[in-house]
C-alpha cells in the first residue's frame, strides 16, 4: 500500500494574478450587490416583506462577517421605497396631568404643531392682557362695578335717609355698624337719652330696632350681590378670554381640520386657557412699572409649559422609513424614559421631559440591534419583547417597574408600534435563545443565516476582486494590483481553512487591506502589491505569535520533548492546534502508549484526571472499539492499555489525535518502532477510516517549524487525512521545502496507510479466517494480543483452581 506525498501544487491553492483580468483595482467597478450571501439576503427580503406578527429577523453569523453592514444596506434600500412614518408627540392631558396624551401626526407635522403652539402662547401672552386692558373691557367691568356699587349704595342711602328722617344716625365701627339717635346733627349721649321722656326713649328704641332689622337685611343681601357681582365679572372675563383665544385659535383649528386628534387637543387647550386666563393676565401686571420704582408684589412666574408640544419623533427630515441602529440598547434607550429636574431638592417632571427610545425612533421602520448587547443590558431584552408582544411602547421607569418607588410619576399614553426588529448575533446565541426562551421563536420567526465562505470559482474570484476594489475605495486606501488582490484572495482562502473556498469575513478582510495599504505607504508604493499583503500577514503573525515562539523554543531546547528523527516504540508525534483569540497555531505533542495483560480496557489518562474533553474521550473509546473489532473479534481482548499526551498540563479536547493515539497503541502492542521524523493528525472511526480535522495548515506548519529549526533531513513530514487535502493553504516556506523534497505531506484514508508510513512495515490484509500475513504489523499485533489472551486464560485457570481448593 504505497502512499505518495502530495505534490507542491496540492499544498497551496494559489490564485494566479493572470486569472484576474485587470492590472489594478482602479479598473474594477464597485460591487453594489451583496456578495455570497444569497440565502441570508432571501431571508432578509422575506422577513422584511412579510407583514404578519412575529416575523422579526435574527441575523446570525460570526462576528465581523459584515452582518450589520449588509443588513443595514438591505434595509435602507427597502426603507427608501417605504412610506414615511408618522410623527409622534406628547401633549398635556388637561384632565389627568400625570397621563400625557400621545398625538400621531403626518410626518413633519409634529414640529409644525410645536412651533404653532409656541407662537400661540406667545400671541396669547400679548393678546389676553391687551384684551383685558382694552377700553371696552374696562368699561364693562366699570359697569358691573357701578351696578354693584349703586345697588349697595342705594340700599344704604335709602337706609340712611330713612334713619335720618327718624332722627337716627348710622355710624361705622371698626367691624360693622351701629345706630345712634341724633339731635342737632350730633349723637345723643347716654345722659341726654336718660333725661328724655320715657315715651321718647321708647320711640327712639323702637325706631332703632326697626332700622337695625332693616340694616341686617341689607347687610345679609350683600354676599348675594357680591356673588352675583363675581359671577358677572367671571362671565365677562370668560367672554373676553374666549373671544381672544378664538381669534388666535381658529386659524389653527382650520389648519389642523384634517387631524381630528389635534383638533380635539386644540379645543382642550382653549378650555384650559380660558379657565386659567389669570396666568396670561399676570404678564400684564409685570409689564407696568410703578411710579415709585417699587414693583408690585411679583406674581409667581406664569407656567405655559402645559401648552407645549413634546415632539418625540420628528420625521420631517426622514426619507422613507427609518432604519435605526441603537449601539447601546439599554432598557431606557430602547423604550424611552422620563427625565427629572431637580428643584429645591425635589425631583420634578412633566410631559416635556419624556424622551424617546430607539423603538419610538424606528416606529414605522426598522430597528437593528446587537442581540448580545441587548441581552447584556439589564431588562432590555424583557422590555423589547414586551413591546413587540403588546405592539405598543409603554414608557415605564425601572424603579416603577420593579416597584422600588411609590411616588407619583408620569404614565404617558402608550404609543402603538409597527416596527420590524432585526437582531444580529452569532449562531450560538441564536440557538441558545431558541432553546431557552420560549417567546423567542414566536417573536423572531425569520433567521437570516450568513455564510462564512463562498466557493472559489473563477466567477466568484472576480466578484471578490470587485469586492476588494469597493472596500478599498470605501476605506479610502490605495489601489491593489492584481498580485496584491490574488494574495488577499489566497489569504482569505487560508482563513476559510479551505483552498477551494474564500472567507466572507469582512472584518478580517478590511483589516488586511488597511495593513497592506500601510506597508505599501511605508514602501512609497502607489499600489498595494502581493509583497505588501504578504508583509502585512507576516507582521500580523509576528505581533501575535510570541507564545508559539516560546513553545518552539522550548522544543528546540529539549524542554518539551519532541523527536524529529529516529524510531521509538509506542511514541508518536501528534499535532494539536492552540487557539489564542483570533490567532491559532499548531505544535507537535508527544503521544505515548503502554500495553499489558488486562481485561480489555484502554485507559485515557487525560480523561482519568479530568483533563480530557468529551470528544477526546469519545475518540479513545472509538479506538478501543477498533482494536477489539480488528484483532479480537473471536476472542477476548486481554489487554490493558494507557494512552497519554506527554507534557500536557491543560485541557485536551477534540478527536484529531485519535489516529496518532491508535498508532502509538499498536506500536506498544506490537513492539514495532515508529518513525519520529513523521507527525500524524486525523481522527478515526471504528472502521479505521481517517476523517478530516480542523487546523490542518497550522498543524503541518507547527511540525515543519520544529524540523526546520533542527535542519530538514528530507525524511520528515506529516501524515494528514486525505479529506483535508483541499484545505491545504500552507506557508510558502513549507511548500518550497516540499517542492525540494525536504518535507513531505502524506494524505491517508485509513489507519493502515498511516501505520505503514510510520513503521515502514506492511500493515497486512486478513485472510478468510481473519489471520494476517506473517511479518506484517497487524500480524504482530494479533500475535501479541493472542499471547495476552493465553496468559489471561492461564491466570484464569490458576485462579479458578485456587478458588476450588479453598471451597469446602
Amino acid at each position: 500500500m504505497n502512499t505518495d506525498p502530495l505534490k507542491a501544487h496540492e499544498l497551496y491553492h494559489a490564485c494566479s494574478p493572470d486569472e484576474l483580468a485587470f492590472s489594478t483595482t482602479a479598473e474594477l467597478e464597485d460591487l453594489t450587490e451583496t456578495f455570497g450571501q444569497d440565502r441570508a439576503l432571501e431571508a432578509i427580503d422575506f422577513g422584511v416583506g412579510i407583514k404578519h406578527d412575529g416575523y422579526n429577523l435574527f441575523v446570525l453569523g460570526s462576528t465581523g462577517i459584515g452582518k450589520h453592514f449588509i443588513v443595514t444596506k438591505e434595509l435602507e434600500k427597502r426603507a427608501a421605497k417605504s412610506l414615511m412614518p408618522s410623527d409622534w408627540c406628547y401633549v398635556n392631558n388637561f384632565n389627568t396631568y400625570h397621563k400625557p396624551k400621545a398625538l400621531e401626526l403626518p410626518a413633519g407635522m409634529g414640529k409644525t404643531l410645536r412651533d404653532d403652539m409656541i407662537q400661540l402662547v406667545d400671541d396669547l401672552q400679548n393678546a389676553i392682557p391687551a384684551a383685558f386692558r382694552s377700553d371696552e373691557y374696562r368699561t364693562r367691568v366699570q359697569e358691573i362695578n357701578e351696578d354693584f356699587d349703586e345697588r349697595q349704595q342705594s340700599a344704604f342711602d335709602k337706609l340712611n335717609e330713612n334713619a335720618k328722617s327718624r332722627g337716627i344716625a348710622i355710624l361705622r365701627t371698626p367691624t360693622g355698624y351701629t345706630l345712634a339717635p341724633m339731635r342737632d346733627d350730633e349723637t345723643i349721649s347716654p345722659e341726654e337719652f336718660e333725661s328724655l321722656p320715657k315715651a321718647d326713649q321708647e320711640r327712639i328704641e323702637a325706631a332703632i330696632r326697626e332700622l337695625r332689622e332693616e340694616l341686617k337685611e341689607t347687610i345679609q343681601q350683600i354676599p348675594g350681590w357680591q356673588k352675583e357681582y363675581r359671577q358677572q365679572v367671571k362671565q365677562l372675563n370668560q367672554e373676553v378670554s374666549e373671544l381672544t383665544v378664538d381669534q388666535l385659535l381658529n386659524p389653527l383649528l382650520d389648519k389642523y381640520r384634517s387631524q381630528e386628534n389635534v383638533e380635539n387637543y386644540l379645543r382642550e387647550v382653549k378650555d384650559d386657557v380660558v379657565k386659567n386666563v389669570e396666568e396670561f393676565r399676570s404678564a400684564e401686571e409685570e409689564e407696568s412699572a410703578t411710579l415709585l420704582g417699587i414693583k408690585p408684589k411679583k406674581a409667581k412666574n406664569p407656567d405655559y409649559s402645559p401648552y407645549s408640544v413634546n415632539v418625540l419623533v420628528d420625521n420631517s427630515d426622514t426619507k422613507g422609513a427609518p432604519v435605526v441602529y441603537e449601539d447601546n440598547p439599554t432598557y431606557l434607550n430602547l423604550v424611552g424614559h422620563i427625565e427629572h429636574l431637580s428643584q429645591y431638592g425635589t425631583l420634578l417632571t412633566d410631559f416635556t421631559l419624556i424622551k424617546p427610545g430607539a423603538l419610538h425612533k424606528a416606529n414605522g421602520g426598522y430597528l437593528v440591534l446587537d442581540a448580545r448587547k441587548v441581552l447584556m443590558r439589564g431588562f432590555a431584552w424583557e422590555g423589547l419583547k414586551r413591546a413587540l408582544s403588546s405592539h405598543e411602547i409603554r414608557i415605564e421607569s425601572l424603579e416603577q417597574m420593579l416597584s422600588l418607588v411609590s411616588t407619583i410619576t408620569l404614565e404617558p399614553e402608550p404609543i402603538p408600534i409597527n416596527v420590524k426588529l432585526v437582531l444580529t448575533g452569532d449562531r450560538l446565541l441564536y440557538y441558545l435563545l431558541n432553546e431557552y426562551d420560549h417567546e423567542f421563536g414566536r417573536l423572531f420567526k425569520v433567521a437570516a443565516d450568513f455564510s462564512e465562505d463562498i466557493d472559489r470559482s473563477p466567477g466568484n474570484t472576480m466578484l471578490y476582486a470587485r469586492l476588494i476594489a469597493s472596500l478599498q475605495r470605501r476605506e479610502k486606501i490605495r489601489d491593489f494590483d492584481a498580485g496584491g488582490v490574488a494574495r488577499v484572495i489566497e489569504q482569505c482562502a487560508r482563513r476559510a481553512e479551505d483552498g477551494k473556498k474564500i472567507s466572507l469575513h469582512m472584518g478580517n478582510l478590511v483589516d488586511l487591506l488597511h495593513e497592506a495599504d500601510y506597508w505599501a505607504e511605508q514602501d512609497n508604493s502607489k499600489a498595494v502589491s502581493a509583497q505588501h499583503v504578504q508583509h502585512a500577514i507576516d507582521k500580523q503573525i509576528y505581533r501575535r505569535d510570541q507564545i508559539r515562539s516560546r513553545i518552539q523554543e522550548s522544543i528546540q531546547r529539549g524542554i518539551r520533548m519532541i523527536d524529529s528523527d529516529g524510531e521509538k516504540i509506542a511514541q508518536v508525534n501528534g499535532l494539536s492546534v492552540m487557539q489564542l483569540g483570533d490567532y491559532s497555531f499548531g505544535s507537535p505533542s508527544r503521544i505515548t502508549a503502554t500495553a499489558r495483560l488486562g481485561e480489555g480496557e484502554v485507559i485515557d489518562i487525560e480523561r482519568e484526571v479530568e483533563l480530557g474533553g468529551p470528544i477526546h474521550s469519545k475518540a479513545v473509546m472509538i479506538l478501543s472499539a477498533y482494536l477489539a473489532d480488528h484483532y479480537a473479534r473471536n476472542c477476548l481482548l486481554s489487554l490493558s492499555a494507557t494512552v497519554v499526551f506527554e507534557q500536557s498540563y491543560g485541557k485536551i479536547e477534540g478527536d484529531s489525535a485519535s489516529i496518532a493515539e491508535l498508532c502509538a497503541l499498536l506500536s506498544a502492542i506490537s513492539g514495532a518502532p515508529v518513525k519520529q521524523s513523521l507527525a500524524v493528525t486525523g481522527s478515526i472511526n471504528q472502521l479505521g477510516q481517517v476523517q478530516a480535522i480542523g487546523g490542518v495548515n497550522e498543524k503541518i506548519e507547527g511540525f515543519f517549524d520544529v524540523c526546520d529549526a533542527r535542519g530538514l533531513t528530507g525524511n520528515q513530514g506529516v501524515i494528514i487525512p486525505k479529506a483535508n487535502v483541499n484545505h491545504l493553504m500552507l506557508r510558502h516556506d513549507v511548500v518550497s521545502a516540499a517542492q525540494n523534497g525536504k518535507f513531505h505531506i502524506y494524505p491517508v484514508e485509513n489507519v493502515e496507510q498511516a501505520l505503514e508510513l510510520l513503521t515502514g512495515l506492511t500493515a497486512g490484509e486478513p485472510d478468510a479466517e481473519g489471520n494476517y500475513p506473517q511479518g506484517s504489523l497487524n500480524a504482530m499485533v494479533q500475535q501479541r494480543l493472542a499471547e495476552f489472551n493465553s496468559l489471561r486464560q492461564e491466570f484464569a485457570a490458576k485462579t479458578k483452581g485456587e478458588n476450588t481448593l479453598e471451597t469446602p
Binding site: P174, E186, I188
Partner: protein
Amino acid sequence: MKIPLKPPEREAKVLQVLLALDAACHNVDALETAISLASQLRAELIGLFIEDLDLLRSANLPFAREINAGSGEERSITGNYIARALRAWTSQIQTQLTKQAQKANIKCTFRTVHSRRIEALLSETNDSNLLIISHTRQQSVAPLSKSDVVYLLFDGSPEAHHGVAIVAELALKGLKHIVLIDACGENVEYSAKKAADWLSRHGAHVLIQKLQADPNKSLPPLLKKYPAALLLAPAHFPERHTPGTLVKLQNKLNCPVVIVS
C-alpha cells in the same frame, strides 16, 4: 397761601402727605397711593386716624348694638369695647404704615385726631401738605403706575395752581396721563388751557374736560370715563359748592381723593 399765578415760576412745595383713616375707611389700600406720592414728592407721610366722637358716645347708650358688616350678626357694644377695637385697629394700621414707609425709605409718623367729621380734617391742611382720603369701597388701590390716569380739578384758585405744580412734578417722574377738569369761571387770568399747556411742557398728555355746575352730580361720571387712579382737588372746592360734598364725592368715587391746599 400765596402761589404765583404762573405755574412755571413756582415749585410743588409739599412737606407732608396726610393720609386720613377712620373706622369707615379701614381698608389700607390707599396707603400705597399715599406712599407713592410721599416718595415722589419727597414728603413726610403722616397717618391721621380719626376717632369719631359720635361713635364713642353712642356706644355707651344702653341699647347700643353693633351689626357686623360681613355677617349681619348683632351684638351688644360699649364705649370701652369700641375704644379697644379702635386702638387695636390703630396699632395694626400703624405697623403696616411704618413697614411700607421703611420700604419706600420715607419718614412716617402717626397721629390720632378726635373729630366728628372727615371734613374737620381740612383744618389740618395747609399749603405745605396734601390730604388723602379714600373710601372703603376702593378695593384695590395699587401703587401709582405710569399708565395710570390722574384727574386734576382746576378751578383757578391758588390751591388749584398748587395742584398743577404737583401734577407737573409727577409728570416729570413718569405719570403721563392727566385729565384736567376745568371748573374755572369765565374771568380767570390763568385758564385751564394754560395749565394744560404747562403740564404738556412737562411731558404729560393732558385732556381737558369741562365740569358742569353741580360737581356732586357731574364729577363722578367724568371720573368714570377713564379709570381714575387719583383725583387732586383744591381744598374747600367741594365745600364751596355744597356742604357735605366731599363726603358724598368720597362715597361715589373709586379712587382716593387728594386735597391740595
